[in-house]
Amino acid sequence: MADIVMELRHIQKFFGSSQVIHDVSFQVKKGDFVTLLGPSGCGKTTILRMIAGFYEPDSGEIELAGRRIERVAPYDRNTAMVFQEYALFPHMNVFENVAYGLRVRHEGSDSVKKKVGEALALMQLNGLESRYPNQMSGGQQQRVAVARALVMNPDVLLLDEPLSNLDAKLRESVRVELRAIQQQMGLTTIYVTHDQQEALSMSDSIIVMKQGVLHQQGRPEEIYFAPKTPFVADFIGTTNLLPIEGNGSCQVVYGSDPLLADTICSVGTGVLSVRPESVRLSRTADAADRVNVLTARVTHSMFLGEKRRYFLQDRQGREWLADLYDPGIAIFNGDVYMQFAADRSHAIVGQEPG
């Protein structure tokens, strides 16, 4: 496969005697925006740092642009990184910060000037060349940090939660902008975040990790609609997880209720994931002739603006969440029927609830 630009093979990493990365392997296609997603402590930053060379894997291989790099010094890798805290040099102004890497490479001053100018223009930083980091807002500093990495034209651009220090509004607009620039430049990018919205909205491919184990790699839609483990289902978005058993007749059994799931004819025990927004509620029994109907009792509900979130308890005592969009002012109370479509309930077979 010619368009694979980076590959990690069987990476293991220990801190002392505790293992923080368990046999992680994945491939990155040229020009892709790949997100490492997981809760804190899942090992996503450790992976990023191993790609940059700040840690060495204790076993396994990293290949970048046709070269094995896991033992190469960090300064010989061309893996420019945007740090979470930006790490701008406080004693250099914007221009010098962005020019730093080029000057280390001993590029001619004309070329440096040209490339820095382009990078600054791209990040809309024109006119700020002589500012120092402490004279700029957080958003501007973040742009400088990105420009400093972009200007190196790296084989892979590494981003370590670069948006986590920005306020919510700014975060959203930078998200769009960053993705546009990345696509325009065709820059292979590894992005680390714990924010699922960021991951879903920006990525070509998402890698979900937990406690050093790679749970799933896939397109955002795959990750969202077809999670391979209960953890992925629960971590991305919100979901209802039910323990199920296959009954050999293309149904799954939840307690004593037969249900239909998207993966047809599953056998064995597993977990069924049903998103809250896929659950419909009704008061009347006429829903009973449709598939996947369960009775439940509303414990309470919460108004969230565009939707109302219901907290329910089914006959087996299990808690459910159901989101009703465009809710109006009517509220369900007491006993209700819950219903969801078969193609909206995803069976994860062979897994215990997370």
């Binding site: 046999d23 700040f54 010094a73 960090p74 740090f83 280390v104 190196m152 184990v213």
Partner: protein, 553 residues
């Protein structure tokens, strides 16, 4: 997945060496540092330990005068250290916990004595309270003799007060005011607050400060020489053995005995106190916070105390100046430049001191930062050994360093005795821990990601060091430059064995002139010394502008 395979992080010598091989320059630098340490620290000290014979050791522990010198050393330094600590604490408390008027003035005056050799207090003592002292003899007509332990106590207390004050002030500053505010918020006030919070938090730091001042007074050479008279301490006895009795092995033996308590203190501080400290060295002061925790009465008592201390310090400096510029102070008050010309302008010693000190300051500062970078930010075999060796000289008395150096470099391929080089080496050894510690403190405050960003953009260790680390450490760098320059100008014990007729130094001149009774020339030289330091700082300030903070220690 390879569950069940037992793994570990790669570590150990082999791994670290493999990482190093990627950067030959770094490896070379590390080897060079170890070579320097081997030649200039380990070799001289081993050599010194090998000089005394068994008989010398035996003689040293049985000879009456030596046992006496040992007792005197312990007794006098305990007295002086305790007193200096008490005064220093009260002073530092007044500076950090009250809003008494004139604080800026008090702070500067308390630091003034550090700009002169510590024997200036001895010199002033002789001039004021000596056998022909201005106050005791001239004014009061007394024929007292305050030389001996009492005089030494007074003089050393004054000499070590600034060190105690600076160190304790640092400890008090690093206590977060938030903790005291929290205690006040819970109803604690006055002495109760002081006892239950401030003092408790400060205790480990104070113990550290006590040991630091203790080491310095144990090793003090000039003051016992000048006002101790027959009250011999180890430092002066070692000198007497070498210079007076030509018994080099005995001098070496005694200096080893002097090292034992200081090394002990060093280990206690390094491996016990530092781990039991509540306050971090890097604790940032809370901006704009003014702690006021004392009642008006206490406030004015503290004010009076500070005035008194300042008066004594100014009296000392004043009397030195008066002696330096009058024909015969006490009898003939005519202004004269004669002594100043003789002691400063016509003597090469001031120039020598300046050259040696500037070189020392530059070397220790650069070496200190390089060492801090290596030990803190790079992994290589022997890192802890390097750290230990860089800090070790802080515990070694100057006389010990001096003796070790002349014994090691008297002959052979590195015959350095009598040269400027050996003086600079001695001073550098003495000051290195200060430069190193400054750099370590500064470097610990810099985010590691700064260097990672630089490496990530293609810079190796060397480029990262001089393009990112050094510029960011400007403050630590300037403090260490200023401090080691000042201390080197003023040092006496380190260089007493290292000077030669060709390379005599101003601090030694002050002592020998005072010892021989040429008080006026000695005073003039001391004044010249302070002026030289001031002018150097002035020039540095002129060139470096705001990058240097001389009084903000």
């Amino acid at each position: 997945m390879q569950e069940g395979t037992v793994g570990r992080e790669q570590s150990g010598w082999a791994f670290e060496l493999r990482t190093l091989r990627r950067e030959p320059q770094l490896l070379l630098a590390i080897v060079l540092v170890f070579a320097l340490f081997g030649v200039f620290i380990i070799y001289p000290f081993v050599k010194l330990l090998l000089v005394p014979s068994a008989a010398d050791w035996q003689h040293a522990v049985t000879g009456r005068i030596f046992i006496e010198a040992f007792e005197h050393t312990i007794f006098s330094s305990l007295l002086a250290t305790t007193m200096a600590m008490i005064l220093g604490f009260i002073y530092a408390y007044a500076m950090n916990y009250t809003d008494i008027p004139g604080k800026r003035f008090f702070q500067i005056v308390a630091l003034l004595p550090t700009m002169a050799p510590s024997i200036v207090s001895g010199l002033a003592f002789i001039m004021l309270f000596g056998r022909r002292g201005f106050i005791t003899y001239h004014w009061l007509g007394l024929h007292t003799d305050l030389y001996g332990w009492f005089g030494l106590w007074v003089v050393q207390t004054i000499a070590f007060f600034p060190l105690a004050y600076i160190t304790i002030s640092g400890v008090l500053k690093s206590i977060s005011p938030n903790l005291e505010l929290a205690a006040q918020n819970l109803g604690a006030r006055g002495f109760y607050l002081f006892r239950t919070v401030t003092l408790r938090l400060a205790t480990p730091g104070l113990a550290s400060a006590f040991l630091l001042v203790g080491i310095n007074s144990l090793a003090d050479f000039g003051n016992p020489m000048l006002v101790g008279a027959n009250y011999h301490v180890l430092a002066t006895e070692a000198y007497a053995q070498v210079v007076g009795a030509w018994d080099l092995p005995m001098g070496a033996t005694l200096s080893v005995f002097l090292v034992i308590p200081t090394l002990l203190v060093f280990f206690v501080q390094r491996y016990y106190l530092e781990k039991h400290s509540y306050v971090t060295v890097t604790g940032k002061p809370v901006a704009g916070m003014q702690r006021v925790t004392v009642s008006p009465l206490v406030r004015w008592l503290l004010f009076a105390f500070c005035v008194l201390i300042c008066a004594v310090i100014l009296l000392i400096i004043g009397i030195v100046c008066l002696f330096a510029f009058t024909r015969t102070f006490g009898y003939d008050y005519t202004f004269t430049m004669e002594y100043f010309i003789e002691g400063v302008l016509q003597s090469a010693s001031m120039k020598n001191s300046w050259i040696a000190s500037i070189c020392t300051a530059a070397i220790t500062t650069i070496l200190g930062i390089a060492l801090a970078f290596l030990t803190l930010r790079r992994r290589f075999p022997g890192r802890t050994v390097m750290d230990f060796l860089a800090m070790l000289p802080v515990s070694l008395p100057g006389t010990f360093i001096g003796l070790a150096l002349i014994m090691a470099f008297n002959q052979g391929p590195l015959a350095l005795t009598g040269t400027l080089a050996i003086i600079i080496i001695g001073m550098t050894l003495r000051q290195l821990p200060v430069g190193y510690r400054q750099a370590v403190a500064g470097l610990s405050q810099i985010e590691k990601s700064m260097e990672q960003a630089s490496t990530n953009l293609g810079a190796n260790s060397f480029v990262t060091f001089y393009k990112v680390i050094v510029p960011m450490l400007k403050n630590a760098l300037s403090i260490s430059l200023v401090y080691s320059f000042m201390k080197s100008m003023n040092t006496l014990s380190t260089v007493i064995f290292l000077i030669s007729p060709e390379w005599n130094l101003a601090s030694i001149n002050i002592m020998s002139l005072a010892d021989q009774g040429f008080l006026a020339v000695a005073s003039a030289t001391a004044v010249g010394m302070m002026l030289t330091i001031f002018v150097t700082f002035g020039l540095a300030k002129l060139f470096l502008r705001d990058q240097i903070n001389i009084f903000d220690l």
